[in-house]
Subunit: 319 residues, 2 copies
């Protein structure tokens, strides 16, 4: 249940409140305020995951929720202003503030004004501090003098994203040997968004479309089969996705009927299935009902398990 | 400080422990175990942010840390096996487990075996539950019967990623009016990774390179200037980035000297600066020392502030 960046435009009305600088929000549902001295992505990610536990009442709008992200909040005045507004709207607050005195101000103001609040990173940071025997810096990521370092890792990630874009949709098959991961599947199995998701995690990904009657590039069969992943999907779900796609591309009725017709969809999936069967070294991943990040987790689990072999399946990183 | 997916290969040795199914890890530094019944990305994201507070000792490897991600852990046997291994390695545990009985098992086993542990989402989930007056489902995201829904939002995100890939590096300028956000800047200001980052958040992004002596597409000046963002960077830092780039592309000495030579870099940035000055409606963002996600936060803050005008600067979403 991910909100559209603009969806608030539909159901919110911002009314000027001439007495002061604030504006009253007239809206339905419960408000969740998220405040960070950084980007706010950690708070947003955590709230998203937590809201997954309330899907049963979110899907039918039984318990409508609006989130409001305030990022880059590094002074106490703005912090208190936001909490005051949260109190007015009956919102709850989720925050990540590196400076202990800012975090403490948030805690106190919330308790004073009756705003339920949760410090997302405080407990982990404390646990890590005592595990490492080192005190946290207390400095927000954007603090003066704290510059993001141009590490090898940084360059590697950017290179992965650029590589992956260039290799989209079967382009440049002569480069397949340079990829860490190669995804193969019929149209609309999510190859492109999955490739990009993995690229941002630092993997060079190529994706190769399987189209009935079209020969796959030879290079696909020359690379290490351990890095090739087949994607498969339930034909009924695929048909639904293809119909949406055909509409948005404005396909003519003829082209559309071929592309999203049930018989064709089934045949093409069988065609892909045969190729997968001929290449037993490629794991085949069922993507039906999975979000992109869920399929990504499965791909990476397999990818790392195969590299480690003898250990407990895990993805390890060094800091 | 983001670890390379493969960096563990360098400093870990996995020794078979023939007496049982476990393997001992011989490694330096402190271990952080992360366990999720889902993808593990929430735990990973939170640990990453928390580790930002220890950069002062991570950069010089004064306090080396290894993280280990275990995703899709939905039965208690595997959970206990992992915690036992964590105890052996003197690791701490960070977990996200939707099923309350799994979370309770983790808590108890950790306390029994002396593994410091933190439940990342438990507190937020409880706070949201009492804010909404609704009980959490207790079902992990991958639980049988729980299928990811093909929402409009899902299709919109995929479309954004596909649009953004097609519009990379100034391609198809006739489509600029279809973009939500347009990024303009000289080579190596991070336009491509920033575009992709924003695309995954659901925005259609186009990026347009500024190259000295090359005319910008006319369409760039025909679109709403409120959606165009200029990127600028310190020339010394840009030179460093370009040198790395030139090396990795294997430029000849001549091409390289032009592209990453200080005079040229400065002149090109001035050229860009003039274009920005001629288009005062475009906000100009300084990317020096900022991670991609930090620049993304600045872009989106401005983007939403301009849309909302009269409200407190925020990014609102509806669930
Ligand atoms: N690299 C970093 N260095 C220091 N603090 C960080 C870093 N990354 C994230 N944080 C902090 O972690 C919290 C969450 O960050 P963000 O996800 O950017 O909102 C904020 O308090 C940030 O200041
Ligand atoms: N859409 C969702 N529905 C139910 N639970 C979710 C959802 N997204 C995340 N979670 C839960 O939130 C925690 C973190 O998820 P993840 O980031 O996938 O590891 C896990 O316990 C997941 O089961
Ligand atoms: Mg594609
Ligand atoms: Mg580029």
């Amino acid at each position: 249940p991910v909100g559209s960046p603009d969806s608030n435009a539909n159901n919110h009305a911002w009314l000027g409140n001439s007495g002061n600088d604030y504006f009253m929000e007239v809206t339905t549902g419960k408000q969740i305020y998220m405040v960070s001295d950084g980007t706010g992505w950690t708070a947003e990610h955590s709230v998203n995951a937590a809201l997954g536990q309330f899907e049963h009442c979110l899907v039918d709008r039984g318990c409508p929720v609006n989130t409001h992200l305030f990022s880059g909040i590094d002074d106490v005045e703005r912090l208190l202003e936001i909490i005051k507004q949260a109190a007015k709207e009956g919102a709850m607050l989720v925050y990540t503030l590196a400076d202990p005195s800012m975090a403490e101000s948030a805690r106190q103001a919330c308790s004073l004004w009756g705003v339920p609040s949760t410090d997302v990173l405080g407990p982990i940071t404390e646990a890590v501090a005592s595990h490492l025997g080192v005190s946290p810096s207390g400095l927000p990521r954007g603090a003066p003098g704290r510059n993001f370092a141009l590490t090898d890792e940084y360059f590697r990630r950017i290179e992965s994203v650029e590589f992956t874009i260039k290799q989209d949709d079967g382009a440049l098959p002569q480069n397949l040997h340079k990829a860490d991961i190669i995804l193969a599947g019929v149209s609309r199995t999510g190859k492109t968004p999955l490739s990009i998701y993995l690229a941002q995690k630092g993997y060079k990904v190529a994706n190769v479309p399987i189209v009935m009657g079209v020969q796959l590039p030879k290079t696909l069969f020359q690379v290490d089969p351990e890095k090739v992943f087949g994607l498969t999907i339930n034909p009924v779900v695929l048909q639904t996705i293809r119909r949406v796609r055909a509409k948005s591309l404005g396909f003519g009725t003829e082209a559309r009927s071929n592309y999203s017709e049930m018989d064709y969809v089934r045949e093409e999936l069988e065609f892909a299935g045969k190729i997968f069967a001929q290449n037993p070294g490629w794991p085949v991943i069922e993507v039906t009902g999975k979000a992109i990040e869920e399929t990504a987790a499965v791909v990476l689990r397999l990818y790392h398990d195969r590299k480690q072999r003898c250990s407990m399946p895990r993805i390890s990183k060094r800091y």
